[in-house]
């Protein structure tokens, strides 16, 4: 298992899998598969995938601990960057097709429509995370502070779900599903935080060495 997880080919494979949603959208664009309202289709599809990749990224830490597979951490940065990538696609569709680069309209939307305000905030919060995702930046900032900074992803997750919830007209079952997933992923962290043994004991445990790697939780 470990050798599979540490293989560079696995990483390449995961990268390609992450591109599949984009590939499918392009395929559909060429085949009339975007339906009657292509812009709305693209907005929804890219929005869905942004939320999904945020959730997948947030699932890495719980999974590697629960499954005792510390090597899973190798994929987290890539998954997070894919969340940012699909967020960029989502925003691009909105700017290009929905607003057609109407600056006044965009300005009014971002300020006046709360679901856009909160969605835009969630996106903006990902920018510093994407910029500081390299090993160089972790060193420059310092592991502990970097880790603090990257907790912004929690806010992005919450903002993303609220954005979705506020935009639906009446049927909230999909936003509820996303909210449930995010609540579990964030709730697990809260649980972990409060159920940890007292700090001095922990620092003395040599077995937890992987915890002090350059990519803290």
């Amino acid at each position: 298992m470990n050798s599979i997880l540490t293989s560079k080919w696995t990483k390449a494979l995961v990268f390609l899998i992450c591109l599949v949603p984009l590939g499918v959208l392009i395929w559909e664009a060429f085949n009339g598969g975007l339906g009657s309202n292509p812009t709305q289709f693209l907005e929804h599809a890219t929005g869905d995938w942004t939320l999904r990749f945020v959730a997948i990224t947030l699932a890495v830490t719980p999974l590697r601990k629960l499954l005792r597979q510390p090597q899973l951490i190798r994929f987290r940065r890539m998954l997070g960057l894919f969340a940012f990538f699909y967020g960029c696609c989502h925003l691009s569709v909105y700017l290009t097709f929905d607003q057609v680069f109407d600056l006044h309209g965009i300005y009014a939307d971002v300020l006046k429509r709360r679901y856009i305000t909160v969605g835009f905030t969630g996106f903006v919060l990902m920018i510093p995370l994407a910029l500081t995702s390299t090993a160089g930046w972790i060193r420059r900032i310092g592991g502990k502070r970097w880790s603090m900074l990257h907790r912004l992803i929690y806010l992005t997750a919450v903002a993303g779900v609220i954005h979705f919830w506020w935009l639906v007209k009446s049927d909230i079952h999909l936003p509820v599903e996303y909210a449930t997933v995010m609540a579990i992923l964030l709730g697990w962290r809260v649980y972990e935080h409060y159920s940890k043994p007292a700090r001095p004991a922990r620092a003395a445990t040599p077995a937890r060495k992987e915890q002090t790697s350059v990519v803290p939780d």
């Binding site: 959208l25 429509r113 049927d171």
Partner: protein, 321 residues
């Protein structure tokens, strides 16, 4: 009232049958995928197009209408696969899938309330009450998309006059069919059902207000409101109630479904108005389906201001949204 007669359009001029693919639009779509290589045409040809499947009957002997627009008609495929019909699911593609088995025959419409001769009409009677007209109307959804549809029907006033509304009939209340067995997704709709709508009596009796029994030269597909629906082209689409079973003349303004659901966002009048935004989005522009860009300016009363603006003289349309 000034009504410009537009050149007669034959049905054969109108409907590009089968599958529609707007090549220019799909090229626009590429903008999204900047940097990615094209999938290649060979690949594209492998995928078979979606198939439309519903039972419909050709309608005979329709005449054209001076109310018709000469704008380009939206491909039928678009209009039959992109529907807001929450009883059959809230995704736009749901009704086309879930309404296929909806039983619309036999069908009775009860016309009642403040009128001298209340009675029930069978669908056969409704189809023969007046000569059928084809009316090509713009249809603007509150969600800022629009289509151009060749409806078939006749003015609602035709059926209204038959029951002789009395002087208490200030409004007309409409009710859609509702059956949990046939509409198993009803619980997800998030709106009270049956769907109810209403018009002021002068709006209802306006010649533009259509009792629709068909579109694209055929009876209505289930997902588009079979077998009989309203079409009020100067109002947002949700006012045009589908699959009508009851029409009631009433004294007081009747409750309407979306207003009950969210009064802050959906008013009783819901006239198309580019100057009054929906709280969550601008109504100044619309996307003409199946296009990509939301850059078609929305017109006051959806372009029917010459005909209907006088109905609202002296009314504050910002308040009465």
């Amino acid at each position: 009232m000034l009504v410009k007669r537009s050149p007669d359009l034959k049905y054969s001029d109108v409907t590009p049958r089968g599958i529609y693919l707007n090549r220019r639009n799909f090229l626009y779509g590429l903008g999204l995928a900047s940097g990615l290589a094209l999938a290649g045409k060979g690949l594209a040809d492998l995928v078979s197009p979606p198939v439309r499947a519903y039972a419909s009957t050709k309608l005979q002997g329709m005449s054209g209408s001076p109310f018709s627009t000469t704008e380009k008609i939206t491909p039928e495929q678009v209009v039959t696969t992109y529907n807001n019909y929450y009883e059959f699911g809230t995704d736009k593609g749901d009704p086309a899938k879930n309404a296929q088995k909806f039983v619309t025959s036999p069908w009775m419409v009860s016309v009642e309330g403040e009128c001298a001769k209340p009675r029930k009409f069978s669908m056969d009677e409704i189809l023969k009450l007046a000569p059928l007209e084809e009316r090509i109307y713009r249809h603007r959804c509150v969600e800022a998309w629009s289509i151009v549809v060749p409806w078939v029907g006749y003015s609602f006033s035709t059926i209204a006059k038959l029951v002789e509304p009395n002087s208490n009939a200030h409004y007309v209340a409409f009710e859609s069919y509702f059956d949990k067995k046939q509409m198993p997704l009803w619980g997800r709709a998030g709106i009270d059902l049956p769907y109810v709508e209403g018009l002021r009596i002068d709006e209802a009796m306006h010649p533009l207000t259509l009792l629709g029994v068909g579109m694209y030269g055929e009876t209505l597909p289930n997902q588009d409101g079979a077998p009989v629906r309203m079409v009020i082209p100067w109002k947002y689409g949700f006012k045009s109630v589908k699959s009508i079973v009851k029409i009631k003349f009433v004294k007081d303004q009747p409750p309407t479904t979306w207003n009950i659901t969210n009064a802050h966002e959906y008013g009783f009048y819901s006239n198309v108005n580019p100057k009054v935004d929906h709280p969550r989005w601008s109504q100044a522009k619309e996307v003409r389906l199946p296009g990509f860009f939301k850059n078609t300016p929305t017109q006051m009363f959806n372009g029917y201001a010459d005909q209907v603006a006088s109905l609202y003289n002296g009314m504050d349309l910002k308040k009465n949204y």
